[in-house]
């Protein structure tokens, strides 16, 4: 009698366990979803997303002049990057063109960076170091333009916008190859 009871209980437990496993696999695998997370609208995504691709994808509206960039540079960048981008506490931003295959390569915006839109991306998200994300989009266009002007890649009277940045041919555009180790 006792054995019969034990067996029945054991079967019942096994049944429950199998049911539980079946339930879990429905949640986890069959639908591929756990129903976790809150949907985001495209407007929310746009607010959250500040990445600019090397192609210029996702560059924002707006523009800035090289001249305005020169002033921003003097106030917010020069203390680290030096006068006219010659470097200091921060990296040099000019020079080094033709040095990459030498014993002392100098990697700068002019000599090494392959694309201009990512200069905008980096300045907007990370510069100045003491106050990242503090520049407006117009200010970032302006100061990006000034750095490119210092590298003789833009004229002094240029109005810099998404189109201008996407069209600049950087000197080291073809300087990168896929890892072949």
């Amino acid at each position: 009698m006792l054995d019969f009871l034990k067996n029945t209980l054991a079967r019942a437990w096994l049944g429950c366990a199998l049911l539980l496993i079946a339930t879990l696999s429905v949640a986890g695998e069959s639908g591929g979803r756990y129903q976790i997370g809150t949907p985001a609208t495209s407007a929310e995504v746009a607010k959250w997303n500040i990445s600019v691709y090397s192609t210029g994808r996702n560059l924002p509206a707006g523009s800035g002049t090289v001249l305005a960039g020169e002033k921003i540079y003097a106030n917010q960048c020069q203390s680290c990057h030096g006068e006219s981008g010659k470097g200091g506490l921060g990296d040099a931003l000019v020079g080094g063109v033709g040095s990459l295959a030498s014993a002392k390569p100098l990697r700068t915006v002019g000599s090494f960076w392959p694309n201009a839109p990512t200069i905008f991306d980096y300045i907007r998200r990370a510069m100045p170091m003491s106050a990242p994300l503090s520049l407006t989009n117009d200010e970032v266009y302006a100061v990006t333009g000034y750095v490119l002007y210092l590298n003789k890649l833009l004229e002094r009277d240029t109005i810099v916008d998404a189109q201008v940045l996407a069209n600049i041919q950087m000197p080291n555009r073809e300087g990168f190859v896929l890892d072949d180790r």
């Binding site: 997370g37 959250w48 960076w113 990242p132 180790r181």
Partner: protein, 421 residues
């Protein structure tokens, strides 16, 4: 009540007997005197010193710290960096045993300091080429099935080709190893439904550098993790609290800390951190980009630079080996500057993309010696000498230097980096 008293009494008697027995082993004369002092060099001045007073009470330190005698076991900070917001500190490999790096000694590399993030406010957005863009809180992410794995993490600049550290930390301390807990990135991606055109995922940190990197979709669907805990406790702020990406075997920079956004994309960003930095400039002036994998490497941590062998005779040579391509298959050690090699013992467990501890028993005869190790991973790849590496890469490649480190042992027992002596 009376039972308790009896138990206490008998316990006291037992302790007295035990103490008598123990002291009896040391010296019969010491038995009756509490204030024994000894001139014996073996015993020290007072062999009972720590036994005569109660210790520090339980709970004196609700988050424990190492012994005050272990103050040398701290991260190594280069003394003369231009600034310390974008800088690094190194794990004191020479002070550690085993394969797990204590959280307080895990190497650091930040690009604009360590942000302070309230986990209650932190969110991860997953969007781009997905069926539905989703935002996750930390509570959301902890609801997913979790996984714990032991993996090493290494900065790809560990070390520069022209830097020869005095200690193991200075030479190779931008590597550490921990048990990581989180949810598989694949699981979270399935929740959003990745479209077939997806090739890359852009990861972005919520730090003052907004660090952003492009990761191949294959890695994201393989062993990538969204991590919230390290060695059993929540991530340290230095390691990305409250959420980081973890890409086993890939260069550390890609395991984006303080993770706030994942964008599924058809193209890579070619961001500053994957063009201007973290690319490997070769002598022909071309730079290798997307050099993700950390190749097999090892270093002897004991004896190592700035340590000293106090006497001739037996010494265990011990160190760590790792490979971003899988498990360590073998470690070979030479005590004659690479002329002959011995196979070291590997401490189990030998884990995929984790540090592996190796050991070799050695008897030092007191003469000058150069000791070194080389790792061989399960793909058959052999850790190269610096000379061989430089032949193809030159010295301006900055990243992915996995060359052998050599330690020189002088006749007086002092250990130095052989490239500095």
């Amino acid at each position: 009540m009376s039972n308790n008293k009896k138990n206490k009494a008998s316990r006291r008697t037992f302790l007295q007997k035990a103490a008598a027995g123990a002291t009896g082993l040391i010296s019969g004369a010491a038995l009756s005197q509490a204030n024994v002092s000894s001139d014996s060099q073996v015993l020290g001045t007072d062999p009972f010193k720590s036994m005569k007073v109660p210790g520090t009470p339980v709970g004196s330190n609700l988050y424990g710290v190492p012994s005050k005698y272990e103050r040398a076991a701290v991260r190594h900070l280069r003394p003369a960096d231009k600034q310390y917001l974008s800088s690094s500190s190194r794990t004191p490999l020479q002070e550690l045993d085993g394969i797990i790096t204590p959280n307080g000694l895990f190497y650091e590399r930040h690009h604009n300091g360590i942000p302070t993030i309230d986990p209650a406010e932190h969110k991860l957005m997953l969007h781009g080429l997905v069926e539905r863009a989703l935002v996750f809180t930390l509570d959301d992410l902890r609801r997913f099935p979790s996984e714990s794995k032991i993996y090493f993490l290494e900065c790809s600049g560990n070390p520069d080709y022209k830097v020869f550290g005095k200690t193991a930390a200075e030479a190779n301390g931008l590597v550490s190893c921990a048990e990581w807990t989180g949810v598989k990135l694949k699981t979270v991606l399935q929740e959003a439904g990745v479209k077939s055109s997806a090739k890359w995922i852009i990861a972005e940190g919520a730090d003052g550098a907004g660090l952003n990197r492009s990761i191949p979709i294959e890695k994201c669907l393989d062993d990538a993790l969204l991590v919230y805990s390290q060695n059993g406790e929540r991530l340290r702020p230095e390691q990305g609290y409250p959420l980081r990406l973890f890409l086993p075997g890939f260069e550390g920079n890609m395991s984006v800390k303080w993770l706030r956004r994942l964008e599924v994309s058809d193209i890579a960003l070619h961001s500053r951190e994957e063009t201007s930095k973290y690319t490997d400039l070769y002598p022909d002036g071309k730079a290798r980009e997307f050099s993700f994998v950390m190749e097999a490497k090892s270093i002897i941590t004991r004896p190592s630079g700035q340590q000293k062998l106090a006497q001739k005779g037996f010494h265990e040579i011990s160190g760590i080996a790792w490979s971003g391509r899988g498990k360590i298959a073998r470690v070979e050690v030479s005590v004659d500057d690479g002329r002959t090699w011995s196979v070291a013992q590997l401490q189990s467990p030998v884990l995929d993309k984790a540090l592996t501890r190796f050991r070799l028993p050695w008897t030092w005869d007191g003469s000058s010696a150069v000791i070194l190790s080389r790792a061989i991973d399960e793909t058959g790849y052999v850790q190269p000498s610096l000379e061989d590496l430089v032949k193809t890469r030159g010295v301006n490649s900055v990243y992915h230097n996995n060359a052998i480190t050599k330690w020189k042992i002088s006749e007086n027992g002092e250990v130095t980096n052989a490239r500095l002596s």
